[in-house]
Structure formats: structure tokens, C-alpha cells
């Protein structure tokens, strides 16, 4: 019975001592110890966060590089393609131009030939005419001795003239 | 029988109950730990707390026995 009855003296001293212990330890020990612990944990957390951030940035940077490389590659590709296009266009243009030039030259030549031909024909005609007149003169001079012969000649000449 | 003898029997009965209870908690906790070793720590601490609760009931009995003895 005695064993399970709280005694006044010990209760009294325990209350006082425990309160003093609580206050003293709280001020002297728990505050600095818990403060140091949480400070350190905060520091570690901050460092971890920073590392994570750096890692993320690094990944971003890598992705950027990759993107840039991709872009450059694509640009090169398009440039090459353009150049190729330009080349083929230039070639075809040159071909066309040459063709046109050639056609034009041919056409000019043809017209020149035509006009030369015409000129030659007309010259030939006039030469033939003078020649004929000369021949005729000579013949006339030779034949115009008799009248019948003259007439016959005129007639035959007229017939010939029709053929032309 | 004296009052002390009865108190001793009472204490003994209280111990039987607590023994069964704590034994069951311990056994099931072991089972759980074997099944899920990854939460071993959590199971151990809650098993201890539960054992403390069971034990408290038995200790009430013991204290009553002490009061009489």
C-alpha cells in the first residue's frame, strides 16, 4: 500500500527539480543543439537543391547545344539544297538562253540567206535581162539585115519571154 | 487463504493475460517484418507501443495486487 501512494516530499521536490531541469536544459542545451541540427540539415538541403538545380541547368545546356547543332545541321542541309537548286536552275537557264540565242542566230541567218537569195535572184534577173538585151542587140544587129528574119526573131523572143 | 495469497493469484492472472497479448503482438509483428522487411523499423516501434498498452492493463492488475499485498 505504501508503495503505491505518492509521498508529498518527493512530489514536491520532483516538481521543482523537473521544472528547473526543463528550463535550464531548454536554454542551455536543446535550443543550441536543435538549432545546430536544423541549421546543418537546412545547409545540406540547400546544397542538395543547388546541386539538383545545377544538374538541371547542365541538362538544359546540353539540350540547348543539341538543339543548336540540330539547327545548324538543318541549315546546312537547306543551304546545300538551295545551292543545288540554284545550280540546276542556272544550268537550265543557260541552256535555255543558249538555245534561244542559237534559234535567234539561225533565224537571222535564214532571213539573211533569204534576202541574199532574193538579191541574187534579182541581180541575176537584171544581169540576164542586160545579157539578153546585149545578145539581142548583137543578134538584132546580125539579123536585122532582113526583115523577115527580124520578125521571126521578135516572135521567138516574145515566146521565150513568156516562159520566164 | 490469506489476502496476500489472493493478491498473488491476481498478479499471476494479470501476467497470463499480458503474456498472451504481448505474445500475439510479437508474433504478428515478426510475421509482418518477415513479409515486409522494408518497413521493419515502423513495425517494431508500433509493436513496442502496442505491447506497452497491453502491459499497462496487466500492470493495473499488479498494482491492485500490490495494494492488497
Amino acid at each position: 500500500m505504501d508503495l503505491v501512494t505518492p509521498g508529498f516530499g518527493l512530489v514536491f521536490w520532483t516538481i521543482i527539480s523537473f521544472l528547473i531541469l526543463l528550463i535550464v536544459l531548454r536554454k542551455l542545451a536543446w535550443k543550441p543543439i536543435l538549432g545546430a541540427l536544423s541549421d546543418r540539415e537546412e545547409g545540406i538541403q540547400n546544397a542538395l537543391d543547388a546541386a539538383e538545380k545545377a544538374k538541371l541547368e547542365m541538362a538544359n545546356l546540353n539540350a540547348d547545344n543539341e538543339r543548336l547543332l540540330q539547327e545548324a545541321r538543318a541549315e546546312r542541309e537547306t543551304m546545300m539544297k538551295e545551292a543545288r537548286e540554284i545550280k540546276s536552275k542556272m544550268i537550265s537557264d543557260a541552256k535555255e538562253e543558249a538555245q534561244a540565242e542559237a534559234n535567234k542566230t539561225i533565224a537571222n541567218a535564214q532571213t539573211a540567206i533569204e534576202s541574199e537569195k532574193k538579191a541574187a535572184i534579182s541581180e541575176l534577173k537584171s544581169t540576164v535581162a542586160t545579157l539578153s538585151v546585149d545578145i539581142a542587140e548583137k543578134m538584132v544587129k546580125g539579123q536585122l539585115s532582113d526583115k523577115s528574119k527580124q520578125l521571126e526573131l521578135v516572135n521567138s523572143m516574145l515566146n521565150d519571154a513568156k516562159l520566164n | 487463504m490469506t489476502i496476500t495469497g489472493i493478491a498473488a493469484i491476481g498478479a499471476g492472472l494479470a501476467v497470463i493475460g499480458a503474456g498472451l497479448g504481448i505474445g500475439k503482438i510479437g508474433g504478428q509483428a515478426m510475421d509482418a517484418m518477415a513479409r515486409q522487411p522494408e518497413i521493419h523499423g515502423k513495425i517494431q516501434s508500433s509493436a513496442l507501443i502496442l505491447a506497452a498498452f497491453v502491459e499497462a492493463v496487466a500492470l493495473f492488475g499488479v498494482v491492485v495486487a500490490l495494494l492488497q499485498g
Partner: protein, 364 residues
């Protein structure tokens, strides 16, 4: 180096334990038959003065080595103080000390004041004094003394640890701080945080840490034989005070939700609500009472078992029982060393659990 020192220390402590036990029992069983219950109760209960060892037992030069402690009484004539050595190790009410107009006797480590006409103590059949009354007694008993020793040691250890942190530039523990830190972190991360919750646990940390270490160190002191059973944590007055603190803190920090669960349990029909009110009100008190009883009964039971095993030698009056007794009491002592930590843990975690229940927010 340090480990071997520790090992020597432990060995010495065990040796001392056996010496003090023998001496105490012999002094009890000097003339009459050895009474195990009487011896055990004297060890488990509080006492005036710290009896350390008895030399030359049974011979005329018998000598008790005792640390006398002050007895402080509040009587009708005011404050009365004298040293416990004035009783000359008597606790059977034979030595009468006259101080400040009153006459005092020590009956089973309780001071009684004799009534004015009485010259010696009279007992009734249950061995209670009939002609003496107990004055208000606030003596520095051996439990109070050991409590102060433990408080001094705690303050020394933890202020030294705190200084270590202040000295270091990056808050790293060194020396005694690296011994203390894992336990503090354990109390914080395994007890306070899961039981109270991340947002509120900080407020309760000083109390939980103080209670944990206070109980633990006093549990350990109870096992150290040279202190001769300074059974502080196995004393119901001590556990009563700690449970009282937990009770007060729980109910002072109880929020609306907590009181609502006691007086108007949500989510149950009205008749059951009314039925639950008295149960919940009893529950407020049974929680700290169970805390009080658990610590007291666990530690006291441990002491009783160890002493009972030792008493077997004297009950059987045979030296051949001693190996068995020593082996079993050693075994129980080892278990008790584990129990010192477990009971401190249980008391702290249950206090934290009650604080957590008191501050829990409604979750629906």
C-alpha cells in the same frame, strides 16, 4: 582505450552490486530469520540517508558507511531540520531525536512525531504507530539526492554538447556532442515528428527530450549498485509528477477538435454521443495514470526480481544456490539495462502521442 575503460567500469559496478547486496541482507538477518520481503521493500522504497556499505558485520566494531542527508519537517513549531545520521541507522522507532520542541522517530523510513506524553512508539496489530503522527515531510531523501545528482549530470553533459556545436564552424558534432546527437535526432525523428506532426512538433521538443533523458538516466542510476537502490523512477511520486506534466501539457494544448471528440464525438448517433461522454472523460485521466503506473511498476518489478533472486541464497541458506542466483540476476540485470531505454522511450512516445492527439486537426 575508451572501450576498455568502459569495460572495467562495468565489471567494477557488477562487483559492487554483489557486495552491497550481501551486506544489506546480512544486516537484516542478523538475529532473526531472514525476511526477503522486508529487505526488498527497504531497497525499493525511499530512505533517509544513503547507506553505502556496512563493515565488520555482526561484530562489536560494526560500522556503517552512510552519506547522511538532511531531514526537513514542517511541524507545529515551524521548520525543523536535522541530519539523518541522528537516527543512527535505526528505522524501527527506537532512537528518539529531540529537535525544536518535538520528538521524532524513524519507523520504516518514515519520520513520525511522538505525541506530547509518549516516551516510546506504540504499534497496533498492523504495525502502524498509534501514538505518533506524520509531520509534513520535505526531507532530502536518497531519491531526491540522486535526482539532483542526475540533474547535475544531465546539465553537464548537454551543456558541454551544446558548447561543442557553438565551437564548430559548420555545426558538425564532435566529442560528447557526437554521442548525444544520434539520440536527440532519434527523439526528434522517431518520436516527435511521426507522433505530433511536422508543423507542431517543435514546441514539444524540449519537454520530450528532457523527459526522455531524465527517465533514462534515473533508470540507469537505479541499476547502479553503489547508489544502493536509489529507485527514483520506480517511485510512484516521481512517475506521478512526470505523468502530471504530460497531463497538463496535453490538456492545455488541446484544440477544438480534441475537446469536440471528448464531449460531442462527431459521426455517431446522439444516444451514443451521450454514452461516450463519461467514457471519454475517464479516458483523459486513464492515459496519464497508465503512464505513471507503467513506469513505476516496470522499474520496481525489475528491482524486486533482481533482489528476490539474490534473496534465494539466504532463504535456502546454502552457498550452492549462489551460482544460480548470480547467473539469473545477472541475466535479469542485462534485461533491465534494455528496459531502462525502452521505458524511457515508451513514456516519451506515449506523451508525444497524446500531444499529437490533442493538437490534431479535423480531417474531413
Amino acid at each position: 582505450m575508451q572501450i576498455t575503460t568502459l569495460r572495467h567500469l562495468v565489471t567494477i559496478l557488477f562487483l559492487l552490486f554483489s557486495i552491497t547486496s550481501f551486506s544489506a541482507e546480512k544486516s537484516d538477518g542478523k538475529d532473526e530469520k531472514f525476511d526477503a520481503k522486508k529487505m526488498i521493500m527497504h531497497h525499493v522504497k525511499d530512505a533517509y540517508g544513503m547507506h553505502i556499505v556496512t563493515l565488520n558485520e555482526g561484530s562489536p566494531e560494526e560500522k556503517h558507511i552512510t552519506l547522511p542527508l538532511p531531514i526537513i519537517l514542517w511541524t507545529d513549531n515551524g521548520l525543523t531540520t536535522f541530519m539523518s545520521s541522528e537516527f543512527h541507522h535505526d528505522y524501527n522507532g527506537e532512537v528518539i531525536v529531540e529537535k525544536n520542541g518535538g520528538r521524532f522517530v524513524n519507523v520504516h523510513e518514515k519520520v513520525y512525531q511522538l505525541e506530547s506524553g509518549a516516551s516510546s512508539v506504540q504499534y497496533d496489530e498492523e504495525h502502524h504507530p498509534t501514538n505518533a503522527a506524520k509531520p509534513l515531510d520535505i526531507s532530502i531523501t536518497r531519491n531526491v539526492f540522486m535526482m539532483w545528482v542526475s540533474i547535475a549530470i544531465l546539465i553537464l553533459i548537454f551543456s558541454a554538447a551544446a558548447r561543442r556545436y557553438k565551437k564548430s564552424t559548420n555545426n558538425l558534432p564532435s566529442g560528447i556532442a557526437s554521442f548525444v546527437e544520434p539520440i536527440v535526432v532519434f527523439v526528434r525523428d522517431e518520436i516527435a515528428r511521426p507522433m505530433i506532426g511536422e508543423t507542431k512538433y517543435k514546441k514539444y521538443m524540449p519537454y520530450l527530450l528532457t523527459v526522455f533523458f531524465f527517465i533514462w538516466i534515473n533508470n540507469i542510476f537505479g541499476l547502479i549498485p553503489i547508489f544502493n537502490g536509489a529507485n527514483l523512477t520506480g517511485n510512484i511520486s516521481f512517475t506521478f509528477v512526470l505523468a502530471l506534466f504530460t497531463f497538463i501539457i496535453t490538456n492545455l494544448s488541446g484544440n477544438r477538435n480534441y475537446w469536440k471528440h471528448i464531449f460531442w464525438m462527431p459521426g455517431v448517433p446522439v444516444p451514443i454521443k451521450i454514452f461516450l461522454i463519461p467514457i471519454e472523460i475517464i479516458g483523459i485521466f486513464t492515459k496519464p495514470i497508465s503512464l505513471m503506473i507503467r513506469l513505476f511498476a516496470n522499474i520496481t518489478a525489475g528491482h524486486i526480481i533482481i533482489l528476490a533472486l539474490m534473496s534465494l541464497i539466504f532463504i535456502f541458506e546454502s552457498v550452492w544456490v549462489s551460482p544460480v542466483s548470480v547467473f539469473f540476476s545477472l541475466f535479469i540485470t542485462l534485461i533491465e539495462i534494455v528496459v531502462t531505454a525502452i521505458q524511457a522511450y515508451i513514456f516519451t512516445i506515449l506523451s508525444a502521442l497524446y500531444f499529437g492527439m490533442a493538437t490534431e486537426e479535423a480531417h474531413h
